[in-house]
Structures are given as structure tokens and as C-alpha cells.
Point group: C2
Chain length 295, copies 2
């Protein structure tokens, strides 16, 4: 059995529960960030690492500054998913010896631009050579107040489901310049009780079932209401991935107040009600295989 | 100009000082770990990321468990370098789709073995596909008490220089099973005032000049006294790299007490006096180019 056949979710499920967990670990692998209680204070620490690989996450033709932006923004997007505040980042660049120094400088300009926009300091840089494609790995640490940490697991039957922004067709360019939804996510937990949240990286069709599974509920989605990015059809919004928008669950009682105050606070970012969490059903539990058409 | 010609030290020197540093950052890129003051308490937080790349840090034939051990141990060795206590680790595995699941499980067994030996919990795992060689990236966070944090920069003229273990010929197998010197390093700062310390990853000939430069001193080494690993000659001890032993500077007044109590505490780990920090001289400042013969 190789990695292609088993799939990332199943592989991690096989490996990760076997890893011993200390008592300070609130949430380990499986949620967007790892959550640890480093000091027993009011704040939890969040840890996250992510990477981009040439030929997988960006093409050889992509502008180096955009690649750097994306590498940092992907990691920061997972802080948004938990309503966290990222603070420090470490960067590992794995690149062939023939890589131009000018390219690396532009890469760092992009990394730093994304970091600075969200108050993050890059505190370490490693480089390694490779005979393969360029890899940029970004790890970050930050915090979230204990009463504002949102995992994937708190959704309840009846919750209203929302997504930010517009979905699909990210490959046309948005995947290299998206804005991690940190500001929006911090605003949400400051003003509302958010039951469950995540960032959409693998597409709604893969990610929503993950959140539903973590919350032990099912879901019903109005496919026609999905907010489509320019050039995207419903299928793209479901399956393309790399949207880096927020998906979250909130009590239906707060729906109207949320929609109203969101429009006021973020007039240029769409917020769309896409459906509800429901009772777990056989039908929904069959959607657990990753990229799925779930009309 | 490409990466091969410019070299890692010069590249990082070009890029990293331009990265803005927050006030909470005690030591950024350039030392073994990044050091940040997260909470203004008695402890500093240490952050470190490192990676291993197939074809560079291990051969395709290497046992997966050893590869996992090495990937974790390299990162932990940088905590030893600053007398830190690692606590949590994140792992990113970048592997071709054809990689066997059994190989990945063995890799994680090695990662976890090294983590557990030093009380570290693996709290996150990411995977990505690649068309290139396997990359395993490990980030870790930990702490060090403010009065026990040792950087590379505190060395003084006249300090005695010591190395742990034996150097050279690591490629014969030691590079896959070395023990990060965390226990020894913690013992050192508990019992002695260590002025400067680092772990030897690129070979004494590259690393000692770095420490001397950071401390703004020169050095004089007795080449004949270098502790040689089986099969190693002096040149190997200077230039091979991947020793992961500690190099540290201590006041010459404490030399005798150190040697005596070390033998009692660590009877199976060599500790060797190799020379002294001296006044900066033209001759020494010419050694700054990386892998050098400095007889």
C-alpha cells in the first residue's frame, strides 16, 4: 500500500493516535493547529507547520514573491481557523544549488510581506540543498485566549453554516495571493460564540465532512447558494480546494445579527449562509472519503 | 549568482538582518534556536526547525526508523546547543505518492522514539506529495530558564574550549543514530557558567569560527588533541560535519572542576579540552569561509 492509495486522512489517522500525548496538549494533530497549554495562564499556545512544494502548490513559472506570500499565508490561515494570533515564524527553504539568490530574496520578500501584514516576526531561517523541487516550509507559533479558541469539534445539530469569501477556481491565481482570514476570525470570536470553525484548504467537499465528523453531526447544504468565485461553477466550489476561506458553525439564533454586523464590518468580504448541521445520517457518514460530490 | 556559489552563511546574512524583529525576540536567526520572550516570565521560549532531505542527509537505502530518529534528533540537538528543554514538535513529511505506508510508519516510529527519549510530544503532522526526494521537516518549541540560556555570543578571550564525544567519520553510521546532548547540556548549565555553546553540525572547521565570530574573539586549537571517532583522522574531525556534539567555552578557572565532575557524571561520554579563545587576529578572521583547514 502506498501513500497515493491510502490518502492523507487515513494515513494520519493510522499514525497519529499512536503518538503519546502529554497532559499539556489540548488538541494535537487532526485540527488546524496544535493547541498546547504552555504556562497554565489565560492563553493557549498554537503551533502549526505547513509547506509548499514546486510542481504541487506552485508552478516553476510562479513569481517568487507570490510563492513566499503563499507559503506564509497557508500557515497563517490555520491560525485564522482557530481564531488565533500568530506571533513568530520559522522558515525552511529546501532548494537546488542552482537556485538564484535573487529568486530567494524575492521569496523572502513575499514571506515577510505576509508575516508583517499580520504582525508576525520571522525568527529563524534554515536552508538545505536538494536534487528535487523547491520546498518552502513555514512553522509558526502564536496564541489564542482560552475562551476564544475554536476547534472543529464544537458544532451542534441545527447550527447555521457560513463561509467567507467566494469559492472555487483558486488555481487561476487566487491561491498565490489570498488573504488569511485572521482579522475576520478574531472579530467573529470577539463578537459571537462560534461553535466550530476551520479554513477551507482541500475544498468544501472534503473539509465540511471533516468538520461534521469532528463535531459528530451531519450536514445539509444548499448547493445553489454556494458563493462562486469568478470563473467557478458549483463543482469547482466543492472540489477545487485552496480557497483558504473560513467555514464556521454558529447558533441559528445569531444568524441575523451576524449577517447584519458582518456587512458593516467587512463590506468587501462576502459572508454566505450555506446550510446547517443536521443529525448524523447514514448518507452523510458515507461522505467521509475526501473529494466527493455531495449533491 | 546561485545558492551554490554564495553559500548558506552568506545568503542568510544577506536576507535575515532585513527581517524586522519584534521586541519580544531575544535572539533571531543566526543562533541555534530562536529565542523569544513570550510571556515575560522566568523562562524564554525556544523555537527551532530543521529538515532532512533524501540524497543529502540520508541515502535511499537508509532504514526509515533511523531517518525518523535523525530528523527529530537534529532539531533537538539545537535545543542542547542552548541548554534548552524541548517540549512539542511538529512534523512535515513531503514524499512521493508511491512511498509505502509501511515506510512512513517506520519513519514515525523513529521520530517518536527520539521525541519520547527527551520528553517531547509530537503534536502535529502534515504531509504533502512531491515529484522529488523525501523531505522530513521537524519544528519544535521548548524553553530555557533566562539564567541558563547559552548563545554563541558570550565567549571571552582566554576561555577554555571543550567538545563532547568524538568527531569525524559520522557518515559511517553515527549521523543516523546520534544522541542529542540535551542531558549533558542541561547538566552543564546547572553546575557551571557556560559562556558560549553550540552543536557541531557542519564540522568544527566551519562551526568554531562561527562561534568565535559571534563572540568577537579568535581561537587557538591544538589539532593533535581533537577527539577522533573510530575511523576518523584529524581532517575528518575538522571538516566532515554531522557530529552533533557540543562545543562550548568556559572560564579556564573551572576547567579542573569541570573535567573531574564530568567524568563522574558521564563516564561514557568523552569531554575534551581542545584549545582557547584568543584575541581576534587577522589570521583567524580569514577562517570565516566555511569548511576550512585551520592547522
Amino acid at each position: 500500500m502506498n501513500l497515493q492509495r491510502v490518502g492523507e486522512d487515513r494515513l494520519l489517522a493510522q499514525i497519529l493516535p499512536r503518538l503519546p500525548r502529554g497532559r499539556k496538549v489540548i488538541a494535537g494533530a487532526g485540527d488546524d493547529c496544535a493547541v498546547v497549554d504552555l504556562d497554565g495562564q489565560r492563553k493557549l499556545s498554537l503551533l502549526k507547520t505547513d509547506c509548499v512544494v514546486a510542481g504541487v502548490h506552485f508552478s516553476a513559472k510562479a513569481d517568487a514573491e507570490s510563492v513566499g506570500w503563499k507559503a506564509m499565508a497557508r500557515t497563517l490561515s490555520d491560525f485564522a481557523a482557530m481564531s488565533g494570533v500568530p506571533q513568530f515564524a520559522l522558515v525552511t527553504l529546501i532548494a537546488p544549488r542552482a537556485t538564484k539568490v535573487a529568486w530567494v530574496k524575492k521569496l523572502y520578500r513575499g514571506l515577510n510581506k505576509a508575516a508583517q501584514k499580520f504582525g508576525v516576526t520571522i525568527v529563524g531561517g534554515e536552508t538545505s540543498s536538494t536534487r528535487g523541487p523547491v520546498v518552502v516550509s513555514v512553522s509558526a507559533i502564536g496564541f489564542v485566549e482560552k475562551n476564544r479558541c475554536v476547534s472543529r469539534a464544537g458544532g451542534r445539530v441545527g447550527d447555521a453554516l457560513f463561509v467567507t469569501g467566494r469559492l472555487g477556481a483558486s488555481i487561476r491565481g487566487r491561491h498565490l495571493r489570498f488573504i488569511p482570514r485572521i482579522t475576520e476570525s478574531r472579530w467573529l470570536t470577539k463578537n459571537f460564540s462560534i461553535h466550530a470553525m476551520m479554513d477551507l484548504s482541500d475544498g468544501l467537499g472534503a473539509d465540511l465532512p471533516r468538520m461534521a465528523r469532528a463535531s459528530k453531526v451531519g450536514f445539509r447544504i444548499e448547493m445553489k447558494t454556494l458563493p462562486l468565485a469568478p470563473g467557478a461553477k458549483i463543482n469547482n466550489a466543492v472540489s477545487d480546494g485552496e480557497d483558504y476561506e473560513l467555514l464556521f458553525a454558529i447558533s441559528p439564533r445569531h444568524r441575523t445579527r451576524l449577517e447584519k454586523s458582518w456587512r458593516k464590518e467587512f463590506p468587501r468580504v462576502a459572508l454566505t449562509f450555506i446550510g446547517r448541521f443536521s443529525q448524523t445520517s447514514t448518507r452523510n457518514s458515507q461522505l467521509s472519503g475526501g473529494y466527493v460530490h455531495f449533491q
